[in-house]
Structure formats: structure tokens, C-alpha cells
């Protein structure tokens, strides 16, 4: 208990909690809405909310790497895919597995694991894959690194589409067990947020952010930029794989097309809209994008906008999302939340409200000229 009390009272944990608690409250609120509206765990709303919570894990995982390092990764969907396929290997019933995964070795064929072992093994495989490719990728210059993550995405897609014996190629995988409930999704979304905030405020996280601001200066200060990037790369890929496993155990069937450009673009858009630099931005971006997508999908599929009949336009959701991302990049290039976490904004708003004027909190000053 004493150790726990000391941890809570440390400055590090205080700032972690200050940032993470408002975000956890939002996530729990989403969960409560879902649990109340669909106590039987069925229906479109329930599905939407659970998928949103899983998306939060994916976006937060990407934020850990891209937000702190400033290097865009186009390849994280590959790790979500690794998590999903790994889960399928260890959870699909044996009778079906013999049919769809003829290449699996005997010991894997017999595995019909539950939620937790599947999550663990998926995370481990994702981390291992990232640890191997990261050895090369993390030594590159910033632009080369971003480019090679794109290569990684294409390679992974090639493997998922063609490694018939293990992935069933483009035909896709089915018959996964439904293990992810809204409570589990929410629990992991909260855990992801907590870990990402802890990472951001940790020594490694801070060094990685320094390298984002000025890599040469960070290095001359004694920061090992490569090591910081590698650590974040592996951690964030592991979290992506975990999300992939959660997702697979909720959506039950998938194919290689689910881990490709459209998904990468959607995830990156969420991060750009909310703001790369903050965990709160990842959450806000995921929320806004999910709502926009849902509304537009109504237009796209049913010609229905808030109950009003409108012409059906296919591809509308993607186009509008791309447009919004562009507008954000033009008018608010650091995203809606820019450099402050939600708690910083709350402090700012409170000060503005009480003091009436435009006076800012001492630790919430606007950024000066670039």
C-alpha cells in the first residue's frame, strides 16, 4: 500500500492521472451508453460502440509512435492484421481450421484458445514482428522511415493475400469465437490510453518527442534517437496487434482487404483530425471520425440523412473524410487539440470562464511564432 501511495503521489503519476482520467471517463461513458441501450449485446448501436472502443486502441497505438516521434507510419494496419490472423490461428475450431488453414502445424491445429491467451499470443507475435523489421526501419532517416512503413504495409498485404495455407488468401477467414464484449473493449481502450499517456510522460517518451522537435539537437544532447524510436515502434506495434486480436474476436470474419489503404487512411485521418501530439487528440479524432462516417454511411447506403431522404452517393464517406482531413491540415495543421491534452484544455476553459477575460493558465500559454 505504501508503495502504491508513493507512486500516486509522485509527480509523474499525478500528471499521468490528470491526463488519463478525463479520457477514461469518456470511454466508460461510451461503455455505459452501450450497455444500457443494448443489454443483450446485439444491434447496430452496440456494434458501433464496441468497434469505436477497439478503434480507440488502434489510434492510440499509432499515436504512441507517430505522435511522439513525428514520423508517419503507414504500416500499422499490418500489425493489426498480424493480431487478427494470429488470433484466428489459435481460436478457430479445429474442424474448420483443417479446412481453411491446411498449412498450420499439428499443435496449432488443436488450439482453441479463449480471449486472454489469444490476446497474449497476438500481442507477442506483433511485438516480435515489429522488433525484427524495426531493426532496419528505425535506423533510417525520417522520410525513408515513413516510406518503408508503406512498403511494410504492401508486403504484409501480399502475405495475407497469398499465404493460402495460413491465411486462406483473399477468400478470408471465418468462424472466430465472439469473445470481445463492450466491457472488455472498454477495459482495453482505457488500458491503451493509460499506457500511451504513461509513455508520453516517461523518459523515453520525452526523448522521442525531443527528436520529433529537432533530431540533430536531440542527438547532440545525448539522446539515442534510434533507441527511443525502436522502443516506441515495438510498443506501438504490440498494442496494434492487441487491437487486431480484440477486433477479430468481435467481427468474427475478415480478409486481407481489412488491413489495407482504406483502413490506414481512416486511422491516420483520425489522428490528424484530433491532433497527432496528444493521446486526447487520438480519442477525439476517433470519436469525430466515427460519427461522421456513421452519418455518411446512412447517406451512402440508404439515402438517409437524419431521417431526411437524400440521393445515394457511393464512396461519399471516404471522400468527405478525405476532404475534412485536408481542411484540418490546411487550417489547423496540428489537429483540433494541437499541443494540449484534454486536461490542459479544461484548465484553459475554466480559467477563461472564471476570469472572464482571455487570460490563460500559467501552464496553458499559446504557442508562439513557429
Amino acid at each position: 500500500m505504501a508503495v502504491f501511495a508513493r507512486l500516486i503521489s509522485s509527480r509523474f503519476m499525478r500528471s499521468v492521472l490528470r491526463t488519463a482520467v478525463p479520457l477514461v471517463v469518456v470511454l466508460v461513458a461510451v461503455m455505459v451508453v452501450g450497455a444500457v441501450m443494448a443489454p443483450d449485446g446485439r444491434g447496430a448501436t452496440y456494434r458501433l460502440l464496441v468497434n469505436f472502443l477497439i478503434t480507440v486502441v488502434i489510434v492510440v497505438a499509432l499515436q504512441m509512435f507517430t505522435g511522439n516521434s513525428g514520423i508517419v507510419s503507414w504500416g500499422h494496419a499490418a500489425f493489426v492484421g498480424i493480431g487478427a490472423y494470429s488470433t484466428a490461428w489459435f481460436s478457430v475450431p479445429m474442424v474448420i481450421k483443417e479446412d481453411i488453414f491446411p498449412g498450420l502445424p499439428a499443435w496449432m491445429m488443436g488450439a482453441e484458445w479463449g480471449l486472454v491467451p489469444c490476446l497474449l499470443v497476438s500481442t507477442a507475435i506483433g511485438a516480435l514482428a515489429a522488433a525484427v523489421v524495426g531493426l532496419a526501419i528505425c535506423r533510417m532517416k525520417e522520410t525513408a522511415m515513413a516510406m518503408s512503413t508503406l512498403g511494410l504495409l504492401v508486403i504484409a498485404h501480399g502475405i495475407y493475400s497469398n499465404w493460402e495455407g495460413w491465411t486462406r488468401g483473399t477468400e478470408g477467414v471465418y468462424a472466430l469465437p465472439t469473445n470481445t464484449t463492450i466491457y472488455i473493449a472498454c477495459g482495453f481502450a482505457c488500458l491503451a490510453v493509460l499506457l500511451a499517456v504513461m509513455f508520453k510522460y516517461s523518459r523515453v517518451g520525452l526523448r522521442l518527442q525531443a527528436s520529433r522537435e529537432d533530431p540533430l539537437s536531440a542527438e547532440s544532447t545525448g539522446v539515442s534517437v534510434v533507441r527511443a524510436r525502436y522502443f516506441a515502434w515495438v510498443a506501438s506495434a504490440a498494442m496494434s496487434a492487441l487491437a487486431g486480436s480484440l477486433w477479430a474476436q468481435f467481427n468474427l470474419a475478415f480478409g486481407p482487404a481489412q488491413f489495407y489503404y482504406a483502413q490506414v487512411f481512416a486511422i491516420l485521418s483520425m489522428l490528424v483530425i484530433g491532433g497527432l501530439a496528444t493521446v486526447s487528440g487520438a480519442l477525439v479524432g476517433a470519436g469525430i471520425t466515427t460519427v461522421i462516417f456513421e452519418v455518411l454511411r446512412g447517406v451512402e447506403n440508404e439515402g438517409n440523412l437524419f431521417g431526411i431522404e437524400v440521393p445515394q452517393i457511393s464512396g461519399l464517406a471516404q471522400m468527405i473524410l478525405a476532404l475534412i482531413t485536408l481542411l484540418i491540415l490546411i487550417f489547423r495543421p496540428n489537429g483540433l487539440l494541437a499541443w494540449w491534452e484534454l486536461d490542459g484544455w479544461i484548465v484553459k476553459a475554466r480559467d477563461r470562464f472564471w476570469k472572464g477575460g482571455r487570460k490563460l493558465a500559467p501552464d496553458a500559454g499559446e504557442k508562439g511564432g513557429e
Binding site: Q209, E213, D214, S217, E219, S220, T221, G222, S224, G365
Partner: protein, 253 residues
């Protein structure tokens, strides 16, 4: 020159970027407790020389010794650990991190947590403005404050040798005077200084010795007084001392 071992010694160092040679056959010494000025026009290779010492640019020939042991070829973080801190040109502060976090990163190679906190406190006494603004994003500081932050961040690694690249760049004269007053006192703290500076008279005010660089080579060396009276010093700056003067560039490499 005295018999004692110099703190920093460069012997025939050649360095540059790919096919471009920016420093050719440079040999110089900095003794413990000195402030040594490295003067020269833009593009003479001064910044590259500092970056080579700091390990950010690899020399293609020659030796660099710190207190008698070779440091060329080591990683930048290892060189920082051995007591060399570079304050880069343009300050290189981390704009979107707080002042306090900038200072913490300055201590990246140190492990003594308690002492790091004490040192950060000390920096805030040394530069009171940093104490006042510790929670602000470093990018919101004025140019002079940013330069102070850059110096404080370098001091956080507890260096024996500080490599300063143009600390007066773009600052108002009053601020520059304040910063140079602080630099003058660095040897009292046990910090030796190799100072790259465009402002010759300011640099020679606080330095005991100096070197003049032109067209990638060290052309002249002497005490501050000798350099001050050297007739052709201005010509060095106009770029006529070398055979192939490079056009003035803002990069200063």
C-alpha cells in the same frame, strides 16, 4: 604552449558531408579552463568542426582526443557522456516541450535522478526567467530566453567542454551582453569553452586564444590580443584570405 595535456585536441581532422569537404586538416588544442574562440566567415566550416567533435559528423581523417583518449567515431551520446556538450546554432530547443522538459532532456545521459532535479533548480537560479517560465512551451520564449534555455540544457549534462555555436545569433545587443557575461564565468564552474562566433570583438573579449578559419582550413591562431591586432582579420571575414572563398550562407557550415 604549455606541457600539460590539452582537454581537447584535434590532429589533422578532415570532415564533411559525402563528397563535400567542410573541414580540411584541422589541428587545434583547447586547454582546461580556457575559452577559445573559433572565428571565420559564413561557410568556413566552423559549425562542421563543432559537429565533428560532438560526433554528429564523422571525420574522414585525423584524430580527436578528449583528455588524452580518442573520441572520434564514438556515438554522440557517448561523447556527451564523456563531458562534451554542443549548443547548436539556432539553439535547437524543443519548441513544443516545456522549459522544464527541455532541461530534463539535457540530462539524458545522466542517471543520478536526485542530483538532476537539484541541477535543474540551479539552472533556474542561474537564469531566473527559465524558473518563471518552466511550465511554458519552450517555443513561446523570446530569442534571448531560448538561447539561455539552450545553454542551461547543455549545462544539465554537466559538461567539461562546451561547444557553443553562435550564441549571439539574432539577439539584441543587451541580451548578447548578458549572455556573454554568463559565458565568461563558465570556466569558474569548471567548464571549458570552444566558441564559434561571428561577432569577433565580443568573442575576443571573453576568449584567451582563438583560431581563424577560412575555406575549410584553420589559417591563423594566436592569443586574443594578437588576433585583435591582426591586420587581415577583416579580410578573413570578407572571404579574401582563402583561395576559394565560399559565398556567405545562412547555414554557417
Amino acid at each position: 604552449m604549455s606541457e600539460e595535456r590539452p582537454l581537447l585536441r584535434l590532429d589533422g581532422v578532415t570532415s564533411g558531408y559525402g563528397p563535400i569537404v567542410a573541414v580540411r586538416d584541422a589541428s587545434l588544442e583547447v586547454r582546461s579552463g580556457e575559452i577559445v574562440a573559433l572565428l571565420g566567415a559564413n561557410g568556413a566550416g566552423k559549425s562542421t568542426l563543432l559537429m565533428t567533435v560532438a560526433g554528429l559528423v564523422r571525420p574522414t581523417a585525423g584524430n580527436i582526443e578528449l583528455d588524452g583518449s580518442r573520441i572520434d567515431g564514438l556515438k554522440p551520446e557517448e561523447i556527451v557522456r564523456r563531458g562534451v556538450a554542443l549548443t547548436p546554432e539556432g539553439r535547437g530547443i524543443f519548441s513544443h516541450l516545456t522549459v522544464a522538459d527541455n532541461l530534463r532532456i539535457g540530462a539524458a545521459v545522466r542517471k543520478d535522478r536526485a542530483q538532476i532535479a537539484t541541477d535543474a533548480e540551479e539552472m533556474c537560479t542561474l537564469f531566473p526567467i527559465l524558473g518563471e517560465r518552466r511550465r511554458q512551451l519552450a517555443g513561446t520564449l523570446s530569442g534571448g530566453e531560448q538561447q539561455m534555455l539552450a545553454l542551461a540544457r547543455s549545462l544539465m549534462s554537466r559538461p567539461r567542454l562546451m561547444l557553443l555555436d553562435e550564441p549571439s545569433l539574432g539577439l539584441a545587443p543587451r541580451i548578447v551582453a548578458q549572455i556573454f557575461e554568463m559565458l565568461r564565468k563558465l570556466p569558474e564552474r569548471g567548464v571549458t569553452v570552444l566558441l564559434v562566433e561571428q561577432n569577433v570583438s565580443l568573442a575576443l573579449d571573453i576568449a584567451q586564444r582563438g583560431y581563424v578559419m577560412a575555406s575549410s582550413e584553420l589559417q591563423l591562431s594566436g592569443t586574443a590580443a594578437e588576433l585583435r591586432s591582426a591586420v587581415d582579420l577583416e579580410q578573413v571575414y570578407l572571404g579574401s584570405a582563402g583561395d576559394a572563398p565560399e559565398p556567405a550562407a545562412t547555414g554557417g557550415r
